[in-house]
Symmetry: C2
Subunit: 388 residues, 2 copies
């Protein structure tokens, strides 16, 4: 067979052809009405995607850049913050906070579970000088998704702001930035937003802006105030040369997402996740997360006894051209992850699951070929007939 | 006439079709051998473009991000640095240094002249605790280009490191990072590197690395140490999701530039600048810079008596579809700038100059149509016949 590749990782993800192609259009200058129109369309589109009326700031950077921006713009050295971490990306917030000399209270919860809002409430009560709570919405490294709505309720009446990394959540999972009281919502272009990597965004609430105005950590490239000022000017633009080809791409992608409708996109991801889960369980495998509620962006699966997670990933890539992800950090070798966040429909899952069935069989794991696909099809028919 | 646009600003600049098209290719994952090969090819290509054996670090960001990285990675609060500024981008280094609480010695030279290496030498002698000298190679806001070779000679035997912003210089103007003793060379993708905006690079010398290891300013997304560590690993990659479509583009663009040859590319830019200068002078206009040596990236021209620089820019865009740039900050309205940094050849200048002749005529400035073009053609024939 010829090699034909299928990207099924939880980011970067495949993008619609309409989004690919606009990148190849001639470069336009960023201080022209044509660019301004494009840029404003993207930012206003993002506000709808994120269900927010707050300012949405965008940066030419990976999502991590906006995570750093949330830390450096809102806090000063010595400020106490609470970081809830149950995976590699939760830990990243703690790392950044330490780099900026914040006083980090760590709430480390098990990697296969969600954070407990009650514990966050207790920690906030115990240390009322906590100025910020950092939580990961969708923890890409484990597949677990936190209950941000519940955490938002806990944080909103405290002096602390709620900072949420929804890099692999936004667009895929229910997310209501304003209604859920999220003060700084950070996301990136390369997952459910169906755009190549290289753009990051932060939605900043009035409560967060109050802190930004007082914060004393250094911030230049990711400076929120300067970015807002440029957007609020007569000719909205960025303080520095924007990634115009990516802005074109994201502008097209947000149009597509809004055309589908956010609730429909969230439901699509839920269906794909439920089909994938049913399939891997029918193959005799076990899901990694204990908390499966809301875990619809990436399906993390335990590697079966005697087979390394990395071997499954490598075999699927080398033999079948299907690219999935392995485990990171302490989960290396122990799990593998199938992404369904972004521009996917059911048949993308079918091909990935078919490659997985054959891979497991080739690696000596006993299973009935087709059993996973059958389970996925059953769930799909059930879920879509009831909703249609 | 139909509207057909011609981008003649000093960044972003038009890019070759080969570079445009690779961006539209399917997204690949950044932790795969295919990506590693592409990434290594880009970084090793950049080393050749920059004439350096030093580590070249790349970031998904505008050039300003790497400028900030140079400040935050090499210095600690309170460190004394000398910033030579003769335009908007020189001032940017001073702004960033102040954000990081460095003690800034300002050497402000006239905006139409180059920095004087002898003054930098004197300032370094007077304040031997200066730890860094920041200079702009090609000051995009004025068209003036500094003599980095001479400044490098002055700095190299002091404890200070030399940090150079060559965002609009690298690839267009003679630049020998190692031979000229540049310790941190910063550049961006969107000018002579013929790539869309969104990638930045920094070449870091051993002398600079010694400072990086001791520096105490916060740096996370632009952390040099972490970026080097990931590049030096068995599977070279970036610490955070890279802008894969832009990496593809820049990898293709550096191939094209190296195929042309760096000396040939520098000579091309010199020829285009000399033709442009001859043309605008033949039109009866005056060049803005007094220091014209090495000023081959952008031609800054004084707006004639009674006509605003911005009016020329707007008219050329609206009526002729030719996009040039106006003056920034204190030069607003006083100058206009024609870019020839990047993927340009002689005939691109012909069209820009033709649009300029007609624009001036339409705005009531007396000139002989065709005179500028004739002058450009004469210079072009002379310069290319003597070199052929």
């Amino acid at each position: 067979m010829i090699r034909k590749e299928y990207l099924m990782t939880p980011g970067p993800t495949p993008i619609p052809h309409q989004v690919s192609l606009v990148q190849a259009e001639p470069i336009i200058h960023h201080r022209t009405p044509a660019y301004t129109e494009l840029f404003v369309r993207m930012v206003e589109g993002l506000k709808k995607v994120l269900f927010t009326g707050n300012d949405v700031l965008t940066f030419a950077a990976s999502g991590t850049g906006a995570m750093e921006g949330a830390v450096s713009n809102c806090f000063s050295p010595g400020d106490r913050v609470l970081v809830a971490a149950g995976g590699k990306f939760g830990q990243r917030f703690a790392e950044i906070a330490k780099v900026y000399s914040l006083e980090v209270e760590s709430y480390e919860y098990p990697w296969d579970e969600a954070a407990d809002p009650a514990i966050i409430a207790r920690l906030l009560e115990e240390k009322p000088d906590i100025k910020g709570v950092f939580v990961t919405h969708s923890e890409t490294s484990t597949g677990v998704v936190n209950d941000i709505r519940a955490i938002g309720k806990v944080v909103k009446d405290t002096p602390a702001i709620l900072v949420v990394d929804s890099i692999s959540g936004a667009g895929a999972l229910e997310l209501r930035t304003d209604a859920w009281n999220i003060d700084v919502l950070v996301t990136g272009s390369q997952k459910a937003l169906m755009t190549p990597p290289g753009l990051a965004a932060a939605a900043v609430s009035p409560k967060a802006w109050e802190m930004v105005e007082k914060a004393e950590s250094p911030a230049y490239y990711f400076c929120f105030l300067k970015t807002r000022k440029k957007y609020d000017s007569d000719n909205p633009e960025s303080p520095y040369t924007p990634a115009v080809s990516l802005v074109k791409a994201m502008s097209t992608a947000t149009d597509l997402l809004l055309e589908e409708g956010m609730e429909a996109a969230w439901e699509r991801h839920r269906i794909l996740a439920m089909c994938t889960r049913a399939a891997v369980e029918a193959m005799g495998l076990e899901l990694f997360p204990k908390t499966l509620d809301r875990a619809y962006a990436v399906t993390a699966v335990k590697a079966p006894e005697g087979i390394g997670g990395g071997d499954i990933v490598k075999h699927m890539n080398r033999v079948h051209g299907v690219i999935i992800a392995g485990g990171q950090d302490r989960l290396k070798g122990r799990i593998f992850r199938i992404g369904h966040v972004g521009y996917y429909n059911f048949f993308d899952m079918v091909l990935a699951l078919s490659a997985l069935e054959m891979t497991l069989s080739e690696l000596g794991f006993p299973l009935e070929l087709g059993a996973g696909i059958a389970a996925a099809e059953r769930v799909y028919l059930e879920m879509t007939s009831s909703s249609g």
